[in-house]
């Protein structure tokens, strides 16, 4: 059931489609199983926190959701469309770990980086007034308008991750996917960053956050998925603690609530 991709209209999908649907997905790297028979759905407006130990397949799950990888078996759908053939790039914003190489050394300003959010809308041709407004609004929304002319590589880690959020907002994305975005960001900026995510979520943006810090996730997410190759838990943060999934997923002798770096 493919949406008519020739139009930019976001409403031509079936409104009842979940934003993300993962069905019986199995994936491995060269015979090494990473995910086994994982199924979950993310409804519009949700804030899903994905937790699990190192190497549990959290990031891989996110890559499968975004169509960056193909599952060995099972199916991943984005906005009702197979994520392998999904081509509404502007609907998805992605924020990677805070370590990417080119981002550090490349002479790209904050404004140039945020403008990239409009590129899926306008790969060639002049930016229109609405493109420019979307960029300006995005800079304002994450409070980095005063940094617009600075080089992204010369910002602090927390500021830089806000730039990537702004890029997704400029795209007018419906789904924001983040892969451990605050690794190496100082504690104060982390708090502010997650507050911003919670704010954006309450404005209606669907958020999927892969995070190793369970405390951060349970405090802000509307649902938790606990993963270690298999899906151990998917539900409310409130019942998560009692479900025993944590100990099961991490193994009982692991120090689960400590950062592993």
């Amino acid at each position: 059931m493919r949406a008519v991709s020739a139009t930019d209209d976001h409403d031509d999908r079936n409104a009842s489609d979940p934003v993300v649907s993962v069905e019986n997905v199995t994936f491995g790297y060269g015979g090494q199983p990473v995910l086994q028979d994982v199924s979950l759905e993310v409804e519009s407006g949700a804030f899903l926190g994905v937790v699990g130990p190192n190497g549990s397949g959290k990031s891989t799950l996110l890559e499968l959701v975004l169509g960056l990888r193909r599952p060995d078996s099972g199916e991943v759908r984005l906005f009702g469309e197979s994520s392998a053939s999904f081509d509404d790039g502007e609907r998805v914003g992605y924020v990677a770990q805070n370590v990417a190489g080119a981002v550090r050394s490349m002479p790209v300003t904050v404004k140039e980086a945020v403008r990239m959010g409009r590129y899926p809308h306008r790969l060639v041709g002049r930016f229109t007034e609405s493109d420019r407004r979307a960029v300006a609004d995005a800079l304002d929304r994450v409070d980095i308008a005063d940094l617009a002319d600075r080089r992204v590589g010369r910002l602090s880690g927390g500021q830089r991750q806000r730039v990537f959020i702004a890029r997704a907002l400029a795209a007018e994305a419906d789904l924001l996917a983040l892969d451990e975005p605050t690794v190496g960001v100082d504690a104060e900026s982390r708090e502010a960053f997650y507050d911003l995510l919670a704010d954006l979520n309450s404005d209606g943006l669907t958020v999927i956050l892969v995070e190793h810090d369970i405390g951060v996730v349970t405090a802000r997410a509307s649902e938790i998925a606990c993963l270690n190759r298999e899906l151990y838990y998917h539900g409310d943060p409130e019942t998560f603690a009692d479900a025993g999934a944590l100990a099961e997923a991490y193994g009982t002798n692991q120090r689960i609530l400590h950062h592993d770096h």
């Binding site: 080119a102 002479p107 790209v108 899926p120 010369r154 910002l155």
Partner: protein, 339 residues
């Protein structure tokens, strides 16, 4: 690829180029020679050399900027060395079968095919590896050297010109070709500027945004092959990659925006090219080497400029803003650790 559509079109283009080279560009350069008193500007073969380095100074950094920032500087060098194998193939075929194929044409074919193969390898294995590039680079050069010696030294004459570059080989037709390639490459980079920038800056996010990353990567390596082969005659196989790397490195240190870095890289390359060609003529030394040394000189100046402004920052903590150099300690960078 060059498609010879109809003979009349070619004749028309040649006629236009002839007019441009002698009547327009030639007249301007003659005037420049008279006004400035620099006589070399007036010699037709030096006029061609200057026009050629101006072209190289545009396309080298234009393509190189997207390579350097993806840490793919080695690609240019690798393709140049395989292009050398292509030159050898052309010379070998000519000598063995009494043909007269232009060695640059075989060089272009071999370099483009290698570029696409390397890119496919990367797509398949998902990693650019220094090791595989080094194997392709040395392998290309090995094929070239074997082919050249395989004909009893008959074709090794003139091979120096390809290895080290030469101003003397810059004919009217090769300048014409370089000019056409410059227009083509500039137009292609301008048309694909946004996806190229996105893919260079953040490949994963670009893929998540449904940009066809593989297509633009292929475009990039093919453009690199084209640029390297067309600049090879002047710069030489061994040094040509420098024009894709050194000016870009200099610009990256001083530029504020990405667009500005493209412009500054082109300016640095133009400066190095014109200074290098002039020095090469006056002292009778290799053009390619002179140009590269001039480019490295520019890079060294940006380094020195950076050190000076850093020191000044430290001495006068609230130094005036608007310093030419942007190497200001603007952000503490956080204390990032990798896990």
């Amino acid at each position: 690829m060059l498609e010879l559509s109809t003979l009349t079109n070619v004749a028309l283009l040649t006629g236009f180029f002839e007019w441009f080279l002698t009547d327009a560009y030639g007249t301007v350069m003659d005037l420049l020679a008279e006004v400035s008193g620099v006589r070399v500007f007036g010699y037709p073969y030096m006029q061609r050399a200057y026009l050629a380095v101006v072209c190289i100074g545009i396309v080298g950094p234009l393509v190189g900027t997207f390579l350097v920032h993806r840490e793919l500087s080695m690609i240019g060098d690798t393709l140049a060395h395989t292009a050398f194998a292509g030159v050898a193939v052309g010379l070998f075929v000519n000598s063995a079968f009494s043909l007269s194929v232009n060695p640059l044409a075989t060089a272009l074919v071999v370099a483009v095919v290698t570029a696409l193969l390397v890119e496919l390898l990367v797509e398949y294995t998902e990693a650019h590896s220094d090791t595989s590039l080094a194997i392709v680079l040395t392998g290309g050069f090995a094929v070239g050297s074997v082919l050249i010696t395989a004909t009893d030294g008959g074709i090794s004459v003139g091979i120096d010109a390809y290895l080290f570059g030469s101003l003397a080989t810059v004919s009217k037709s090769s300048v014409g070709l370089l000019l056409a390639i410059t227009l083509l490459v500039t137009a292609l980079v301008a048309a694909t500027y946004r996806p190229l920038l996105y893919v260079t800056f953040d490949e994963t996010a670009a893929r998540a945004a449904s940009i066809d990353v593989a297509r633009y990567n292929r475009l990039m390596v093919v453009l690199t092959a084209v640029v390297v082969v067309s600049a090879m005659q002047i710069m030489g196989v061994i040094l040509v990659a420098a024009m894709l790397v050194v000016p870009v490195a200099a610009a990256a240190r001083t530029a504020r925006t990405f667009k500005q870095s493209l412009l500054l890289a082109v300016l640095a390359a133009e400066f190095a090219g014109i200074v290098g060609v002039t020095i090469s003529y006056h002292y009778g030394v290799a053009a390619g080497g002179s140009i590269v040394l001039a480019a490295i000189g520019v890079y060294a100046m940006t380094l020195a400029g950076g050190v000076v402004s850093d020191v000044r920052k430290r001495v006068v903590p609230n130094g005036r803003r608007g310093d030419r150099s942007e190497r200001v300690v603007e952000a503490d960078g956080g204390d990032e650790r990798e896990t």
